[in-house]
């Protein structure tokens, strides 16, 4: 057993913290989010710091790291409230290429992702699919050597910033069949792709994506035709593990912001931190954040195990972190009193972020059911 980070990982953490303190403080972040292109300078910095290259294979411009490196980035991003589309691009899209792309696809896209020249959004959810990865109505019809895509994708995070979309589409079978799902990497500029962009509750961006007779060549298919669901499950589990670490970073910040506030805010002639009912609440918040870190780390370490083991560990983390984040977020706001519900305090923005993370790729209930389905719960 060894839970130590390497020197390189510690340096990665420090470099992000240093950048965030100088270039991504509350006001600079707000200004960047409010402008159309504000994210671009940040993305260029992520490339310079090696954050985009960190988990990618060395043969394609990467640094050859892995899930632990991603978890370090994600935790720091959680602390700094970074909402640029890192996970869709680096974990999901680059992961898809690294796991299942062919040589030409890797050469074309991984180098570009590592260099900060390519941003990819994951166009997976559909208006009625909720969080079921197998529920795919968008169709990809074989047409000569290529495919023609039709359908609507919902709440694709990062799509407004993206130049490419990683699209799940059905090449065979019925709407909820496990078999028949395929994965395509589609340029957003392709004919027939249109988007309706919007901000999201946590300051990020998303879009509805409409695919109308979008023709793509066979070179846009990633991995095996009809059999992409296991790959998609794996990619989404890797993304969820990263988001869990992000939630941990955000929770730790909410804990420390709340403690600081309680130590300085005076009512009834003393700091409110002296009231035992608030002390116990802050202790519960601290414990929730610590256990969340344990569960996130456990999920990340188990990402390399069998599909079932990986899925169980990730769903377990999503359940405990979803519950913990709701508790910590609500308790942090409550302890800040009226100030906690204002836009001007940092704490509310962390609360919004962790709430949106819970509803990304399945909330507590979804993962509780997934965990139960993967566990032996029969009497005999």
């Amino acid at each position: 057993m060894n839970f130590d980070y390497t020197d390189e990982q510690n340096m990665l953490r420090d470099s992000i913290a240093k950048w965030a303190a100088g270039q991504y403080d509350f006001d600079k972040r707000r200004a960047a989010l409010a402008s159309e292109d504000g994210w671009k300078a940040n993305w260029a910095t992520f490339a310079e710091l090696g954050l985009l290259a960190a988990p990618l294979p060395e043969a394609y411009g990467g640094l050859g790291g892995g899930a632990i490196d991603v978890s370090v980035v994600a935790e720091e991003f959680g602390k700094a409230l970074v909402v640029e589309p890192y996970v869709p691009t680096v974990v999901i899209a680059a992961g898809a290429l690294a796991h299942a792309g062919n040589e030409a696809q890797r050469q074309e896209h991984l180098n570009a992702i590592a260099a900060g020249e390519r941003v990819v959004a994951f166009a997976q959810a559909e208006p009625k699919s909720r969080w079921s990865l197998n529920d795919v109505s968008t169709s990809a019809r074989k047409d000569g050597a290529g495919y023609v895509l039709n359908g609507q994708k919902a709440v694709a995070l990062g799509a407004p910033q993206a130049d490419h979309l990683l699209v799940t589409a059905r090449t065979a079978g019925g709407q909820r069949d496990a078999k028949g799902v395929s994965l395509f990497l589609v340029p957003k500029a392709a004919k027939g792709v249109s988007t309706r962009d919007y901000p999201t509750m946590d300051g990020s961006r998303g879009a509805e994506i409409y695919l109308e007779s979008v023709s793509v060549g066979a070179e846009h298919l990633i991995g095996a035709v009809d059999n992409a669901l296991p790959l998609i499950e794996r990619l989404v589990d890797e993304a969820k593990a990263a988001y869990c670490h992000e939630a941990v970073g955000a929770m730790r910040m909410m804990c420390s912001l709340t403690q600081e506030y309680a130590k300085t805010r005076k009512q009834f002639g003393r700091a409110i931190a002296e009231f035992q009912v608030l002390q116990h609440r802050m202790v519960d918040m601290f414990m929730a954040a610590e256990e969340s870190y344990s569960m996130a780390l456990r999920a990340t370490i188990k990402l390399g195990e069998s599909d079932a083991e990986r899925a169980k560990a990730v769903s377990a983390a999503k359940v405990s972190i979803g519950k913990a984040a709701r508790f910590v977020g609500q308790a942090a706001v409550q302890t800040h009193g009226g100030m906690g519900v204002t836009d001007e305090m940092r704490v509310g923005h962390y609360f919004k972020r962790v709430t949106m993370l819970d509803s990304t790729f399945g909330n507590v209930d979804f993962h509780l059911k997934r965990y139960m389905a993967l566990s032996e719960t029969k009497a005999a």
Partner: protein, 396 residues
Amino acid sequence: MNLEFSAEELAFRDEVRAFIEANYPQHLKGKGLREDLSKADFLAWHKILGKKGWSAPAWPKEYGGTGWTATQRYIWLEENARAETIPPLPFGVSMVGPVIYTFGTPEQKQRFLPGILSGEVWWAQGYSEPGAGSDLASLKTRAVREGDHYIVNGQKTWTTLGQHADWGFFLVRTDPAAKAQEGISFLLIDMTSPGVSVRPIKLLDGGYEVNDVFLDNVKVPVDQRIYEENKGWTCAKFLLAHERAGIAGVARSKRNVEKLKSIAKSEIGDDGRPLIEDDIFRRKLAELEIDLSALEMTELRVLAREQAGKGPGPESSLLKIKGTEIQQRLTELTLEAVGNYAQPYLRDLPGGNEFPVGPDYARAAAPIYFNWRKASIYGGSNEIQRNIIAKMVLGL
């Protein structure tokens, strides 16, 4: 003992239901409280009720109340929740009105009560200060007597919808030497007075509903003080107990449970069947309904006591705590129900109507969830309510 409505009560229910149906403004139907309502929208129903004599059912009849029994008032709230009306705001009718008819002079009653009943005058609350929240009695806004006026200086905060207010009721310190609760007075201030400025505070859901109010050498005639000088805390406590009684929001929560059920019927759950058939979701919904039944029955007991002539006491703190917990739980379940479509932030987004993003019921789910965290903070935080029960009810 029984829970049935009598034939007369059923007839009353039919009467008010028909009145609401015939008189509630068409253009406001289905426009929930969470839309960005204009001042006219907020006042429309209040003004209609004012003409009918139904804007303040809880007031004594001599001051313009309806003389309804507690059961009739309960029915009235139920029917309004059912029709999703935009009710008269609490600041006039539920807060300052009862203070004025209980503690005011005959002249003050005559001057201020009619505008509250008719909805012509919009009232705002000036209680909290940046340094005086839960510890309200530590407030610092200063009023110095100069002849027949006070000169008021200070800052109030969390003034809900103060941007629309014509008048405000303020707690100010008139004797800085006295013990905290003993040097406070209750003043009515014309919001157009020179020196009054209102600054909106943006909340985390993106909306503007509370304000800072700055008072800079504001001249307030002494005849706008309610009750005796330095006895304002008596009015303040009386008002807070009244505020808490209405804060449970049982009828609205019952209506929101029905709305949540209809969302859960439209939403597809994780297994491809309607969400309402999902075992985990159903269980949570059932637990919420049961909690709401407990609150409703408790509120009915409090109402019955009131009908017997005992005003709201410290037990109204129970209604505030449980009522707001249930309201917040409802917002959590609604957020969960809408799935991915909790994420888009569509306020002010151009083209919202031509190109809808997700189902209509989803767009406000997250903003309401975030906004409603205020409920366990305002009106005396739920921690303070527990302190009140511990001290006043349990004698601890």
